[in-house]
């Protein structure tokens, strides 16, 4: 692996734009990810996350702007890809190769692989390697790509919704791997929809909406923004004064004794406020990070 100037950012995008016909998929995106940083990349479907990652990987050419990976232009894949490993959102493998053969190919052509760590990862992800890839489920294909990526010593890991096909147990194993990668000094760009996952591993989070990066925030700010959505049904009418309860906001009466509201912080004051009423149904939903961000910044979801 080439030595890297520690002053260079892992990812640097300046005015990155991509236009498909009349659609502006990515609009003047500026982004900087430091070496060793774990960056969460969020946004609704069609926001341009994958297009941005494809431009960083040199798979799509920007209409305007530029992207660099540790100082090397993204389109010069021979140089830029020595610094990174990638797990695509929808992993497709060669149907006639076994898992072991796919790992072998990726290690031989990749930016350098720690074979001992790879064997350990195969164990941890409980991956059967002697099957042809055509027999693999979505989750198993994803595991092959994850093992191949985490086993490299590339200083940047670009992971595009890498846990969408994994069960919760494997999702936790994935989080441990990200933490280990960060501990080794690898930067991680993680596109995800899973709040717990992003909260558990990311240092910073950026949200993309309609092709524009609307916010980049640290994890502390993220936690501050965290809210729960309460759905309450009462036998009688909705009690008055719920909006005055500490932490409660966005009270919306849906009619027939039903109300939806958001709560930040401790639930005790709210529970005390409704204790005297006949609550027939109570459900709590954790909004997605995107909803939090979009709500907080006053952007209507597309």
């Amino acid at each position: 692996m080439p030595t890297i100037d520690p002053a260079l950012p892992a990812v640097e995008a300046e005015g990155l734009s991509k236009r498909y016909g009349r659609t502006l998929a990515v609009d003047r995106l500026d982004l900087r990810i430091e070496p060793g940083e774990v960056f969460g990349f969020l946004g609704p479907n069609g926001a341009g996350k994958s297009t941005t990652l494809r431009m960083l990987l040199g798979l799509a050419r920007p209409t305007a702007g530029r992207a660099r990976v540790f100082g090397d232009p993204a389109e010069d894949v021979r140089a830029a890809h020595r610094h990174l490993a990638h797990v695509p959102a929808d992993v497709a493998l060669w149907p006639n190769l076994t898992g072991a053969e796919a790992l072998e190919l990726l290690a031989n052509l990749g930016p350098g692989t720690d074979l001992g760590y790879r064997d350990e990862l195969v164990e941890r992800f409980d991956l059967r390697l002697d099957k042809p890839c055509r027999a693999y489920s979505t989750g198993n294909r994803q595991k092959v790509a994850l093992v191949a990526a985490f086993a490299t010593r590339a200083p940047l890991l670009v992971l595009d919704e890498p846990t969408s096909g994994l069960d919760p147990l494997m999702g936790r194993e994935f989080q441990r791997c990200v933490v280990e990668a960060a501990a080794r000094g690898q930067a991680v760009l993680l596109s995800s929809h899973v709040l717990a996952e992003v909260e558990a591993v990311c240092d910073r989070v950026g949200i993309l909406r309609a092709g524009r990066l609307v916010q980049v925030a640290g994890l502390a700010e993220l936690r501050r923004l965290r809210r729960h959505e309460f759905h309450l049904s009462f036998a009688g009418p909705v009690p008055a004064g719920l909006a005055a309860v500490p932490g409660v906001a966005d009270v919306e009466v849906l009619g027939e004794g039903r109300v939806v509201l958001t709560l930040a912080g401790e639930p005790a004051p709210l529970l005390r406020a409704v204790a005297g009423d006949d609550v027939v149904q109570l459900s709590v939903r954790e909004p997605s990070l995107e909803e939090i961000f979009l709500g907080y910044y006053g952007e209507a979801a597309r």
């Binding site: 799509a60 992993v91 042809p132 049904s233």
Partner: protein, 543 residues
């Protein structure tokens, strides 16, 4: 809690017509290919009819036609010539085998695509999750694919009728072609049920097609083996003899040939799981790590099995050609009339083993070029299925990967030609010919530049038109061959003829190697490839 009010006007449940929906879906899947094949068959033969009336008929006397008709060498290439004095008969002889093979290949591959191909992609399970049982699904595939053959046969007959050939001959030729297509639809259906994936199903069907083609060739070239034609749809079709005997009985044999694989398909579909075939593949094996060390090595590995299959088929064909050479050319030597007649019809030097081989070697560039184009098309399919994303995330440039693959395929084409030439030589030696190994291998290698032009066209298409790689790649090798044949038969202007890459290849071994032509073709191939590699590196990756 108050109950949710029941909807006052219950929604009308959608009336399920799953059968009709599946049929409509299949029609959409097969529509485009059917129209393309039908258009070709409706246009090409009438052009030959018209051209025949203008030129050939007047120039070739009855005697010359008779020589052509009885010449076994010509018969191996084009089938029996039975009514050359009739515009329709001449057209059937000159284009019939070609159009039938086209229909057969299309029928086989499109049937495998809409059955096993859809199953490989996971979409068949969606259809099976509906209310239709497997057998009715298969029945609908068969019905739609057979209807497509009927459309194609009708288009062929209509074209021949419009230009005023005998109605009986036109109808029988159209019906025979449609029934041949039907037999290969059923073969595709059976292969898709028995074998576990699209590649092996298409491969097994293709092998049957190749054997049927060669059985016809042997039967037409060698009278003691004449009975072989009754085992091959191509041979049976020849027995209809449109515009001469107009015999409908062989059509019944063709229909019978379609029945056997149909029964197999419908028995097999009930006895297997979705996603599996009757033939099971082991789902575990030890890793084989050869050729996984570089992107070019991996290109070799991906293409090796396909190359072996194409080469085996081609080499078997040329072994047969070699074996037949002596008996054919012995006959030719005794016919002084033949040389001039054959030359006028576009064949020269057919009186010797070398001349016959040179004519047959010209054909070699068709499968060779199609092989190269099909491998680049497989690259395009891998790309759109996302199988290339992991490779393209590695520190190897896209240009280097594609250029490496093109180099591997160029080598593959050369080896394929060398082995075909060796097979022809070996066959000729076994049969007692004095043909030298240099003449055999040299004649085959002589066609490699044409294959490479097809490869270059396919690479260019991959760079600028990735959805049409196979079609564009086939233009030089297959389209160029047709252009040359028609130019020679009908005396088209030299400028038109020169557009065909085959026009720049000498008839080796009967003629001397055309060095300048070969260099010119290689330069064209190189330019096409370089342009395609550059364009591929510049464009966005699909999927």
């Amino acid at each position: 809690m108050s109950a949710v009010a029941a909807p006052t006007a219950p929604a009308t449940p959608a009336v399920g017509e799953p059968g009709r929906a599946v049929t409509a879906h299949l029609v959409r899947e097969l529509r485009r290919g059917t129209l393309v094949v039908a258009a070709l068959l409706a246009l090409l033969p009438p052009v030959v009819v018209v051209q025949y009336r203008e030129t050939v008929g007047g120039e070739l006397g009855a005697g010359a036609l008779q020589v052509l008709a009885t010449n076994p060498a010509i018969r191996t290439l084009f089938g029996p010539a039975v009514a050359l004095d009739d515009p329709g008969g001449f057209t059937v002889w000159r284009t019939g085998l070609m159009t039938t093979v086209l229909v057969a290949v299309w029928a086989l591959l499109s049937t495998v695509r809409v059955t096993r191909g859809e199953e490989d992609a996971g979409r068949w399970a969606l259809l099976r999750a509906g209310t239709l049982p497997a057998r009715s699904l298969l029945l609908r595939v068969a019905a739609v694919a057979l209807a497509a053959q009927a459309v194609v046969g009708a288009a062929l007959a209509a074209g021949l009728l419009v230009v005023g050939t005998e109605p009986a001959g036109a109808l029988l030729h159209g019906a025979g072609t449609a029934l041949t297509g039907a037999a290969f639809v059923m073969l595709g259906l059976a292969c898709a049920q028995v074998l576990p994936d699209r590649r092996s199903a298409a491969g097994a069907g293709g092998a049957v097609l190749a054997v049927a083609f060669m059985a016809r060739m042997v039967a037409d070239g060698s009278e003691p083996f004449g009975w072989l034609r009754w085992l091959s749809p191509f041979g049976v079709l020849g027995q209809v003899r449109p515009y001469a005997a107009d015999d409908p009985v062989p059509l019944l044999v063709l229909a019978g040939m379609a029945l056997l694989p149909a029964v197999l398909a419908f028995v097999a579909v009930e006895r297997r799981d979705v996603g599996a075939g009757l033939v099971r593949v082991p789902d575990e094996r030890a890793p084989r790590t050869a050729l996984l060390g570089s992107s070019t090595g991996f290109a070799v590995r991906r293409g090796a099995r396909g190359w072996a299959a194409w080469t085996a088929g081609v080499a078997a064909y040329y072994l047969l050609v070699g074996l037949l050479t002596v008996s054919l050319t012995g006959f030719l030597g005794d016919n002084p009339q033949f040389a001039s007649a054959a030359a006028e019809a576009g064949f020269t030097g057919m009186g010797s083993a070398e001349g016959y081989l040179a004519a047959v070697f010209a054909l070699l560039a068709v499968p060779g070029g199609l092989f190269a184009a099909s491998r680049i098309a497989a690259d395009a399919a891998d790309e759109s299925a996302g199988r290339h994303v992991l490779l393209l995330s590695l520190p190897v440039s896209r240009r280097a990967q594609l250029a490496g693959h093109a180099a591997v395929l160029a080598l593959g084409c050369t080896l394929l030609a060398a082995l075909a030439g060796t097979a022809a030589w070996a066959g000729a030696r076994i049969a007692g010919s004095g043909l030298g190994v240099a003449a055999g291998v040299g004649g085959a290698l002589n066609t490699v530049p044409v294959m490479l032009v097809s490869l270059g066209a396919a690479v260019l298409a991959f760079g600028v038109l990735p959805r049409a790689v196979l079609a564009v790649g086939a233009v030089p090798a297959a389209g160029g061959f047709l252009l040359l044949v028609f130019s020679d038969t009908f005396g088209w202007p030299p400028a038109v003829r020169a557009l065909s890459p085959y026009a720049h290849v000498a008839a080796v071994p009967v003629e001397a190697h055309d060095g300048a032509g070969a260099v010119g073709l290689l330069i064209v191939a190189l330019l096409l490839t370089a342009a395609g590699v550059a364009a591929h590196g510049r464009r966005d990756v699909r999927a």
